[in-house]
Structure formats: structure tokens, C-alpha cells
């Protein structure tokens, strides 16, 4: 039964989250996730000589969404931008003393928000374009953000995605993503995983159509 049991650290960061709010004219800002899926995070950065001088976040979501936002901004504050980029959702979860598998996706979202804000800063101030060609490896990285709530592991590492194809320019249907994902009929999170796949891929402009099939092998 996915009834959530939070550690005291999580409750502490939930009750009194650090770095809440919106920075005046931030050097980098980004919003990831969506209220539709019950989870959204906005991260704001102020950078001085390549260090994160100030950072804040806003959140729409459950207790772990708020707690992970708080811990990630704590970890990133004062770090050189290059080191902040290396922060992983596992660092956040460990700092919080663990998260139930069903809530791991919140820490992924918070780290995602931080990286997106950094990319926003880099493209605005350093002219680095993060235009990455949208291909299968790009999609694989995106799908690594989809965590299976029962396992607490992303669907790529959990080897649930059995087939992935992206038709780019020159193929018959450019923009079409075909995925086969293995989920048992009695898996209570079957619906949730499919929804998250659509949420992540629909955010990519080059993706026109998503054909996600569930297989059972």
C-alpha cells in the first residue's frame, strides 16, 4: 500500500522550507512539472563570478515536493555553477534521510528545476545554447526523469522500456515517438507511468506524436 511514511528531516523541510519565494530579476529561472500532474517547481538563481550567490523556489505539490525543493536549493546555494549542475536527485534524497519510492519523482523534479534554471542562466548570460539535437539519446535522458512509483527507480534503469524510436527529419513521420513499455496488468501505477511519459515528452517541441504501447514481456 503506497501510504507515505515521511522521515523527520522531510517533515522539518516541509514545515519550514528554506529559500522559499521569487527572486527579483533573477539571472536564471525555470518552471518544470505541471499542476495537472500534481507537481510543479519554479527555481530562481542569482549568479556572481560563476557561483550561485542566491537561489529560491516556489512549489505546487505535496510535502515531498516542498521538502525536496528546500533541500536542493540548500545544497546548491553558494556552489559554483559547474558543481551545482552535478547535483543529483539521489543527493537530495540522501540528505532527507530517504523518500518512499512513490515520492522519489519529486526529488527528480526539484533537481530538474535547478538544472533548467542553470541552463536558462547559461543561455541568457553566457550565450551557451542548449539546443540539443532531439534524438533517441536525448529522449532516453528525458525518460530517465520518469520514476516508477512502486520501484523508486527510473523506467530506463528499471529496464521497463523495451523499445524506443524517434522519427526525425527524412523519416516517414518526423516527430513521431514510438515506445514499448512493460507494465503488468495488476500494476497500480501503470496509469501514472504512462501519464508521466506523456508529460515529459509533450514538453519537447520537436515531438509531434507519441505512440506509447504497454507490453507484458
Amino acid at each position: 500500500m503506497a501510504v507515505i511514511k515521511y522521515t523527520d528531516k522531510v517533515l522539518e523541510h516541509f514545515k519550514n522550507p528554506h529559500n522559499v519565494g521569487e527572486l527579483e530579476n533573477p539571472d536564471g529561472a525555470a518552471t518544470v512539472g505541471s499542476p495537472a500532474c500534481g507537481d510543479q517547481v519554479s527555481v530562481f538563481l542569482k549568479v556572481e563570478n560563476d557561483k550561485i550567490q542566491d537561489i529560491s523556489f516556489l512549489s505546487y505539490g505535496c510535502a515531498s515536493n516542498i521538502a525536496t525543493g528546500s533541500i536542493v536549493t540548500d545544497l546548491a546555494k553558494g556552489l559554483p555553477v559547474e558543481d551545482a549542475k552535478k547535483l543529483t536527485w539521489k543527493d537530495a534524497v540522501d540528505k532527507l534521510g530517504g523518500l518512499p519510492p512513490v515520492k522519489v519523482h519529486c526529488s527528480v523534479l526539484a533537481v530538474d528545476g535547478l538544472r533548467a534554471a542553470i541552463q536558462d542562466y547559461e543561455s541568457k548570460h553566457l550565450g551557451i545554447s542548449h539546443e540539443r539535437a532531439v534524438d533517441e539519446s536525448f529522449l532516453l535522458d528525458e525518460l530517465k526523469k520518469v520514476i516508477h512509483p512502486g520501484l523508486g527507480v527510473n523506467i530506463i534503469d528499471a529496464k521497463l522500456v523495451k523499445y524506443l524510436r524517434f522519427q526525425g527529419e527524412g523519416d516517414e513521420k518526423p516527430g513521431l515517438v514510438e515506445i514499448e513499455i512493460s507494465l503488468e496488468e495488476t500494476d497500480p501505477y501503470r496509469h501514472n507511468v504512462l501519464e508521466e511519459i506523456h508529460e515529459h515528452l509533450e514538453a519537447i517541441p520537436q515531438v509531434q506524436e507519441i505512440d506509447a504501447k504497454v507490453v507484458e514481456y
Partner: protein, 391 residues
Amino acid sequence: MQRWLNTEIMEVYMDHSATTPVFPEVARVVYELMTRSFGNASSLHFKGQQAKEALDKAREDMSLALGCEPEELVFCSGGTEADNLALFGTLPENRSRGLLTTGIEHEAVLETAHHLEKEGFPVFYAPVDAYGQVDLQAFEKLLSGPVSLVSIMMANNEVGTIQPIAQMAQMAHERGILVHSDAVQAIGKVPINVKELGVDLLSGAAHKFYGPKGVGFLYVKRGTPIHPVVFGGGHERGLRSGTENVPGIVGMARALSICLQHMKQNTQRYRMWTTRILKACEQLGEFRANGHPEQRIPGTLSLSFRDVNGESLMEWLSFNGIAVSTASACQSHAARRSISHVLQQLGLERPFANGTIRVALGHDNDDEQVQYFISRLEEGVRRLRSMNHGA
């Protein structure tokens, strides 16, 4: 009606195979959860958390006691529901393969097997010897038939014989066949480790081991393909929907742990009393003890007396304050069989089968009660025999 009795009536309960009184400590735990921390395990808030923690702890304790992992236990309303889930939940939709069981199973498996036959599933019944143990050669031959599930009870409810489950599980697994065992009569009385038994599914019912009525479990080994038969909110990993009966489950776990603490001592007590009872029965003459002499649930005795009607002997004992059950009566009006399907399968001659009672000793019995029972039994048998051949 008391006028001819020379001794005081003593209330003695010796039908523990039918049901058992709840341990006082278990009743207290159930009350506590029923009235105060009554939270629903599925809810999030701390009221729910209290129930959730109690449920998780119970699940852990029981899995430790049975030698499995907590997620491998599916809680339900009792042994009957667990057996139905084990059979209906694993047999293939296309009826290509069916069930291998025995003719001496408890109705919860036997009636389900009969229904499956009506639905077109192949069902095979392995023969048993005079003690009630499965004939392993015949069993092995039957395994080569269209079988996808073996369901054989760990111990028989009437004669107490314990089946060689581990051997049968090994033979079945060599052919990729799932194995379920109804262990309702064995749990709390003999040590059980599901990994050592090697079964894929195992059912139990709390009211047989001094736990609350209306709660039981099915052990489902991780990875066993099984689908639910009760649909709804997706509780118990979707295998048994419906709000968890937290007070019942916690009571069941507590009852099992108490039984395990007393198992060694109780087994010795029951063995000692069994020897004493059997000795008295031998002296009465024209007597059979049914079930395997050693591989039998300690404290379970199936006693057959020639030229005695089992129901009359039971009534005589009942009148003297002693509760036992009889396997030979149209007493179970629904079945209206003259003698039980188990005794028939064991090939017991009819004059003996008709005079059969089942005595199931329990935690709450003591020496004085056993002595009182023996004296009443002797008098009852002599009395009833005198009625028909002027002994």
C-alpha cells in the same frame, strides 16, 4: 435429568479443530484498535498512520513467523476466501490445464474444485492410503496430466494426518506446476516455513489458532502469476480489495506469535494426553484410531468405536459438558451424508466409521479435564454398547 449422574459436570472444550477461543491478550489488542486508534490503514494522516504502523508491524511479524517477506502476505476474511483466491486466481482462463488435489480436502478446496469441474476445468484427485497420506507414485503420474496447480492441504481437518508437502512441491516444480497448500489446521500447531515447504501459495485462518474470527491470509510467493477475484480500491497490491481489517489482522499476528511461544510445551502436553486417551480406548476394545500415528497434528484424535453411533457418543459427551465433534452423522444437515467423505476415502469399515468422534485438544485444556473426558468417554461407549447387545 441429573439424577443418575454421580459426578459433577465439568465444562471441557475439545473441538479446537472447529474453532478456538481468542487469547485474552489478543482480544485486548483487537479492542484497542477497534475503539481508539481506529484509523483506516489507507488514510494518510496520523490516525491512519497509527493503523498503518500497526498493520505493517503485524504483516512483518507474520512474515517472520512463516518465513516469507511481508509483501508476500495477502490479508483476507479467512481460510475459505484464501483457498478460493488461490484456486480461481491462478488457474488459466482458457481451461487448458486444471487442478490436482485429493478427495480428503476441506470443503473450501473440494467444493471449489467441484465448481471448477462444472466450469470445464480438468480436475484430478490423487488417492490416499489408509492413514490419509497421498500416494506419491500415483501423485507423480497425475502430475504429467494437464495440471497447472496442485492444491493439497498440509494437515487433514478430520484425522490430522500431515501430508509430505515439501516432496510434492519439489515434484510439481520440476514440471513448472504451481503448488498451494491449505495450512489452516497446521498453523500454530506445527512449525511452518513456506520457503522450506517450497509452496507458491499457502492459506491460514486466525480463528483456528486462538485469533479473531473473520480474518485470514494467503501467502503468495513473489512472482507467482495470480489475479484478484475481489475487485475494488486495489488494496493488498490489488489482490484483495476492501478496507483492511486492521484490528483483525493485528489480532491474528499476535495470536500466531503466542502460539509459537507455547508450541513446544503444548506439543508435549498433547502427546502425553493422546497416549493416555488411546490407552483407555484400546481397553474398551473394538476400536480404531484414524490418521497417521506419527505424522499427525499433535492433539488431534479421530476415534472410531464399533457398535456405537458417533452422534450419540457426541451427544452423551456434550450432555456431560464435553464438546467434541463427530464425523459420522447427518448432523451436518446440509451435507446429509451418513459418514464423512474423509473416512470413506480412508476405507474405514462402516461399523467403525459410524462410531467416529474427533477430539481436538487445545491450549486451554488441562490434566483434570483430560481425566474427566476419559472417564465420560469410557462410560459413554459402554453405555451405548450395552444398549444394543446387552454387554
